[in-house]
């Protein structure tokens, strides 16, 4: 996974407990905290799982809770601070943004060699609801996507509910509803 995604764990740790908390989590994941994460580097997925595992231990949260916070934090802080313009280009409202998710990931994948980004497709379920289909070779990251979607709701000031549906063999579906028409 790209360093720019993993970086959310670092940012989240620093915002929750400062440098010392991040050092603990990094140490637990076997990462040299001084070198940290290079945002354009494609890291083995094991590192992501190790970071989540270590944060889970240090923060006494379940891995899914960590992943959801990790996703939210990425949208609201990490992405916003480093790639704000890129995110803004993906859409000015929740629905447009979700609609452009696959396009955005496709462009990132074409621009950074060696990355394997997830695929997204969506189906409208009504004026304020849609179903998002997420496909990835990485398993167990449904909570991360859920956190990203909730983060997007906050980003656009649109209270959102995300329901993770039962995973299928090659994909994971989410039902997303928001309170007002975006």
């Amino acid at each position: 996974m790209l360093g720019m995604v993993n970086q959310a764990v670092e940012d989240m740790a620093r915002s929750l407990g400062g440098e010392s908390l991040w050092l603990k989590i990094a140490e637990g994941a076997g990462l040299d905290p001084e070198v940290g994460l290079l945002r354009m580097e494609s890291y083995p997925d094991e590192l992501t799982y190790a970071l989540v595992g270590s944060a889970s231990q240090v923060l006494s949260l379940s891995p899914d809770q960590v992943l959801e916070e990790f996703g939210k934090h990425w949208i609201l802080y990490t992405g916003e601070n480093g790639y704000g313009q890129l995110l803004k280009g993906a859409g000015q409202d929740l629905k447009t943004f979700i609609g452009n998710l696959d396009l955005l990931h496709g462009k990132v994948e074409s621009l950074i060699p060696g990355t394997r980004c997830p695929r997204f497709s969506s189906q409208e379920l009504g004026p304020n609801c849609l179903r998002l289909i997420y496909r990835s070779h990485r398993k167990g990251l449904g909570a991360l996507v859920s956190g990203l979607l909730k983060g997007l709701g906050e980003r656009f000031g649109t209270p959102v509910s995300v329901q993770i549906l039962d995973p299928e063999e090659d994909c994971q579906a989410f039902e997303i509803c928001w309170e007002q028409a975006p």
């Binding site: 001084e34 940290g36 280009g89 943004f97 950074i112």
Partner: protein
């Protein structure tokens, strides 16, 4: 047409008069004015390149094969354009926006989906932003590397300094090489730092190599002390995960110190041995005449009846016994120091042992006019397991001291038992000991004050011996004292409760009788001691053939068979041990090679006793010999 508009969402279609017919959704989003049929093209856009000019149909048709740059009249957005002629004289203007930043996309109210699928401009902008990120990361990484490099340099210098101070070099690498050698290793081995070397090159310096120190043994790991000329090196090698790391240290100084220490230790051991031998010899030299003094005094006391003479003889006996106590103290201390004091644990009946001991000590107390009390706890176990000889030695010493230093009042000996420990305190109402002298009271050759030695005598070894005996018996000793009021010595030894052993078959010494026709040989070179022995044997109703040395003794043995032989160990011409060995070997037809042999020596050390028994003696007597000791030694020959 719809497909074209999707491919080019910023496109326009105009008619022959350049009036707008249809428009792309994205263009409409940026410039809503365009979304009206019939609007004049020139009202919406103007041409920037190839040159700014009035836009006419002919002009548009003339530049069909080249691209143009247009600008929207209503915003600062430039459009890249291409003219395509459609049927019915319509013209398709395929516009794509010229974006200079992602921010511009936001300012125009556009998003990724508003751009045509064939439009790569957004990729360029994204790439620019990602490159910025990569550059920032690269800059940060360079700073981290610089900082780490500086830290590594500092650590390397620190390590080099430490290695130089410790006269140590190091190396590290995979087992099959190549290795990295520290600078100080080169220096230590007198090599140029530029040399291209391997471990085998270093080992070649120590040629010829040995079975213990060679490349194969080194790679197994371990510590090797080897010499390179006059210099000693210690190689310490670790092997882990097929990597080898090691150090080479100059330990010449350490080796020199070790040698000095070893020499000092040997010298000290020799001195200690000399001291022990000297003590033993002195003990022997004094014991021999003491045997005469005490033995003859005892014999005289049994035959003299005149009170004045008896008093004088008694004084001689007491003085001799005091001298013997001093001798025994010196000998005991010497034994304890050399670790040769044996501890013989056995079942001991406490009550008779303690009572008899107090009885033995009570005459001394009576003479001093001091009371002597023994108070034993009611729940004292009848039998315990300990060394009775050493226990009695400690109690005698403490009670004897207490009596000696008490002029009025009493000495109380309290005995209790708890948790397998026998605890005994000896409390007196004597002169007491000043606090400043208490701490060194148990040091050898120390008495509380110099004046004590002058007034009360003694070697100053007694308490030191007591302390060491207590510790040998698994306990210790302590003292409390108030000057002028008295002292209390308290000691404890391990003495677990024990079962009573089976009934003893031994008869009391006093009841022993011997057959008068017992054939006895006495070999003793000292005239006085011969007389003492003969006197004692006479007291037992026995007589003996007497000779002055072993050679004569052997002659006598060859002439007649003896039932008992009492042989001095140290004799001229042939010593007692040699005589025993020859008798046991039946040399020259000795008729009774199984005679009962008691050896007699002034050497009171355990190893001397063992030497006699090894030579073939049945019993052993240490000079000076008392009548009762002689009786005890001859017990196996007693009648009945």
């Amino acid at each position: 047409m719809k497909v074209l508009r999707q491919l080019f969402p910023f496109s326009l279609v105009v008619n022959r008069q350049l009036k707008v017919l249809t428009w792309g959704d994205s263009l409409c989003k940026v410039t809503p004015e365009v979304c009206r049929r019939g609007t004049d093209l020139s009202q919406l856009v103007r041409l920037e390149r190839p040159h700014s000019t009035e836009v006419t149909r002919d002009f548009l048709l003339s530049c069909r094969r080249q691209g143009q740059i247009w600008r929207l009249n209503t915003s600062q957005l430039n459009l890249r354009g291409q003219v395509v002629v459609l049927p019915k004289e319509r013209i398709f203007l395929a516009f794509t926006p010229v974006l200079s930043s992602l921010q511009q996309l936001e300012q125009l109210g556009l998003d990724l989906g508003d751009l045509g699928v064939l439009d790569n401009s957004i990729e360029f902008l994204m790439q620019a932003q990602l490159q910025e990120v990569a550059m920032a990361d690269s800059t940060r990484l360079r700073q981290v590397l610089q900082s780490k490099n500086a830290e590594l340099t500092r650590q390397r210098l620190e390590l080099e300094t430490a290695q130089e101070i410790a006269q140590l070099g190091s190396f590290e690498g995979p087992a099959d090489g190549p290795y990295v050698f520290s600078r100080n290793l080169y220096r230590l081995l007198g090599l140029s730092a530029q040399s291209q070397i391997d471990l085998s090159d270093l080992l070649a310096l120590y040629a010829p190599l040995t079975d213990q120190f060679n490349l194969a043994s080194l790679l197994q790991g371990g510590t090797f002390d080897v010499q390179l000329g006059e210099v000693w090196h210690r190689w310490t090698v670790y092997r882990a995960n097929d990597r080898i790391s090691g150090t080479v240290q100059d330990i010449s100084l350490q080796k020199h110190s070790e040698n000095q220490l070893l020499q000092a230790k040997l010298t000290a051991e020799r001195a200690n041995q000399a001291k022990s031998d000297f003590l033993a010899m002195m003990s022997h030299e004094i014991r021999t005449p003491m045997n005469g003094v005490l033995g003859l005094t005892e014999l005289l006391l049994n035959s003299v009846t005149e009170p004045e003479l008896r008093d004088m003889l008694d004084l001689i006996r007491q003085s001799g016994q005091s001298l013997l106590v001093i001798l025994n103290d010196i000998l005991d201390y010497s034994r304890i120091e050399s670790g040769q004091m044996p501890v013989e644990l056995r079942e001991v009946q406490l009550q008779p042992l303690l009572s008899n001991l107090m009885q033995l000590l009570s005459p001394q107390a009576e003479r001093q006019g001091v009371g002597l009390e023994l108070r034993m706890d009611r729940d004292l176990p009848a039998w315990v397991r300990t060394d009775p000889t050493r226990l009695q030695q400690v109690i005698s010493n403490l009670v004897g001291n207490a009596i000696k230093f008490t002029h009025q009042g009493k000495v109380v000996c309290r005995v209790s038992h708890r948790d397998s420990l026998l605890q005994i305190s000896v409390q007196d109402t004597g002169i007491g000991i000043a606090p400043e002298h208490l701490a060194r009271l148990f040091q050898p050759f120390v008495q509380a004050e110099a004046s004590t030695t002058r007034r009360y005598g003694g070697t100053g070894l007694g308490l030191s011996i007591c302390q060491r005996l207590c510790r040998m018996l698994g306990g210790d000793i302590a003292v409390e004292s108030v000057p002028g009021q008295g002292s209390c010595f308290r000691f404890w030894v391990a003495a677990p409760p024990a079962q009573a052993p089976g009934p003893s078959l031994c008869k009391p010494v006093a009841d022993l009788n011997f057959a008068a026709d017992l054939r006895i040989l006495v070999a003793e070179d000292n005239l006085v001691n011969r007389r003492v022995l003969m006197g004692m044997l006479g007291r037992l109703g026995l007589s003996a053939t007497v000779v002055e040395n072993g050679r004569l003794g052997l002659c006598e043995c060859q002439k007649q068979g003896f039932d008992l032989m009492i042989l001095d160990v140290e004799m001229p011409e042939m010593d007692g041990l040699e005589l025993i060995r020859r008798v046991r070997a039946g040399e020259g037809g000795v008729p009774n090679r199984d005679a009962y042999i008691v050896s007699l020596t002034a050497q009171a050390r355990e190893r001397d006793q063992e030497g006699c028994l090894e030579a073939g003696a049945n019993g052993f007597l240490s000079k000076p010999v008392s009548l009762s000791q002689l009786q005890q030694a001859l017990r196996p020959l007693a009648r009945g």
